[in-house]
Amino acid sequence: MNQPASETIRLTIDGVEVTVPRGTTVLKAAERAGIVVPHYCYHPGIPSRPAQCRMCLVEIEGQPKLQPSCVMTAGEGMNVITQSEAAKEARRSVIEFLLLNHPVDCPICDAAGQCMLQDYAYETGQLESRFREAKLVLGRDRIADDILYFADRCILCTRCVRFMRDVAGEESLIVAQRGHKAYIDTFPGKDLDHEFRGNIVDVCPVGALVHEDFLFKARAWDMDTAPSICPGCSNGCNIEIGAKENQIVRLKPRYNADVNAYWMCDYGRKHLVMSNRGARIDLPLVRRNGELEAVHWGEALDWLADSLPSGDGVALISPFESTETIAAVRALLDSVGISGGTYRLERGGEAQLEGFPKLKLRAERAPNAAGAELFGFSETAALPGPMTGGLLLVAGDRLADAPSDFGADAGFFLYIGSHLSDAARNADAILPATTFAEMEGTFINHAGRIQRFQQALVPPGVARPAWMILRRLLAMRGVGQAVLEAKDAFAMAVEEAAELTGLEWAAIGLRGADAKLDGAPAPAAG
């Protein structure tokens, strides 16, 4: 009698019984059982599985040879032993061979502390060499404008080659030569120039591929990391910020199945590191007798609470602001009777990742235009025009390109931001705000997904999140409450926008949630 094959199968791995969907590999099944099988060439985000690193070999009861678990389909009743003597010896052997011609230059290699060769060498106990011959030296090469290849460290797992071919959709990285002399290379004269090339450094298990702008900058153990969201465009790729001595030294993608998988674009990677620069506002400044004077927060806010005019005015925010800040600005504008408000948005060329189409470097070069739109701000190409008195509130826009007399004609110019431009110096009050990296908060991406980012850096001076400043100011004027935590500021934003109803800070977590907005800002005409 024919019985349909069941959807799941059961097998045992290292004594742990686990049930998995039919067709699951032994390696993935082991993952389900909480067991990590060491591996190199397999990568969950790269579809091809050559099974060539030979690191994931496991013993399967009844089979004479060790099997590569990354490609072996789990079978009903299989008994897998990942820690048998044979399997352990096979792994030790792989490490021995990998280290044979390896320079073991950990003291000068960026991968130290985050290197799968180091990790497995310790795990397998392969710490001494019995190699008496001269090591083969292949040298170092430039693979791209900003990526270096240290051939001697390369373990030829071909993850980089296959990322470019299978995920980036461009077969521009290849293995040249064969055998012992093989190495990774491009076509001569054609360095890698792809918008997603930086990912090859992330997938490299060792220090063979390194970003040139990260070279020698920081040790893995010296970096403080925080999960965040890339502010480069409206795709909202999940990232990890790596900071050392309070400077961003590296951005890496963070896995999110719904947004960016394991990847991010080079624009996002590089763009932010640039933003470490610039003169920061680190103290509140108020204008006294025509001059800007540094004052304490208390004094600044007291004065503002009294002096802030109502009625007439314009507001300019930035699509780089968090949702909490944008909500707070709207609340403030409401309290002084100002409606509308604008934001400026830069646009650039788009680039989609062929192998994961949800990931696209988007034309909107800012992370929260959707948040701005949600709270009633609209896109503008130009700065607010000449004023005749009234309130000019600028929150976030750096005014880097604004004329030096911008805002001089406002009745009251309040600038809340992180960087001090010439135009901002015309303000009556300048309040130091944090960048997104210096606080917690949320962005809403092009698809209406709301995602949280966490604090990676310590803000300079007494800079504070703009939402904290504004909610305090509002409370002092009898509107709402002051809040000190981002989750509370978020809760207030949820109350103030119908589209955010039902969203909870904890539930958003590190994966994000669907904010069910009508949609992202419309693409610019032409």
Binding site: E171, R178, K190
Partner: protein
Amino acid sequence: MKKVHPAVVGAQPFQVADLRPVDRLFADAEGRDRLEKALSRYPEKKGALLPMLAYAQERNGWVSPEAMEEIAGALELTPAYVRSVATFYTMYAKRPVGRYWIQVCTCISCHVNRGEEVFEKFLEQTGTRAGEVSEDGRYTVIEAECLGACGFATVVQVNDRYFENVTPESVPEVLAQLEQSDSEE
């Protein structure tokens, strides 16, 4: 133009003494004919890659980066991919070689029949170092792996010819035969 039956278009001798160099492989009728015929023998364009690399070697005596790029374009592959294939194999020269590419087997059966001595003798007689092109451009001498004539050691392949039962003493004779075939043309 050499007429080639499609069934054997990918099996033409590609290490030859008399080159017919071209700047662009597929600019002349012969190149286009070879390409077309090769493409017709495989369900995917990629299948014609080794035949086209062989053709580049046949015409020009080596496979240049320009040739790789041109082949890549014709087969809808990337130049990098073509390079990865070309550099895998030993018989596609990646740099120009001498008119006579002398490949001396020193693998086990020839090794125990003075193969290394034959190799050294060729180097001495041609005045070259392994892999280099002689001053007059006539010779490049390299060691080769098993050439498949083991019973007739030492085996030497020069372009598309086999010389068997070569001894260190008969090396000058082999070179003389090469000269002779030159003057016969």
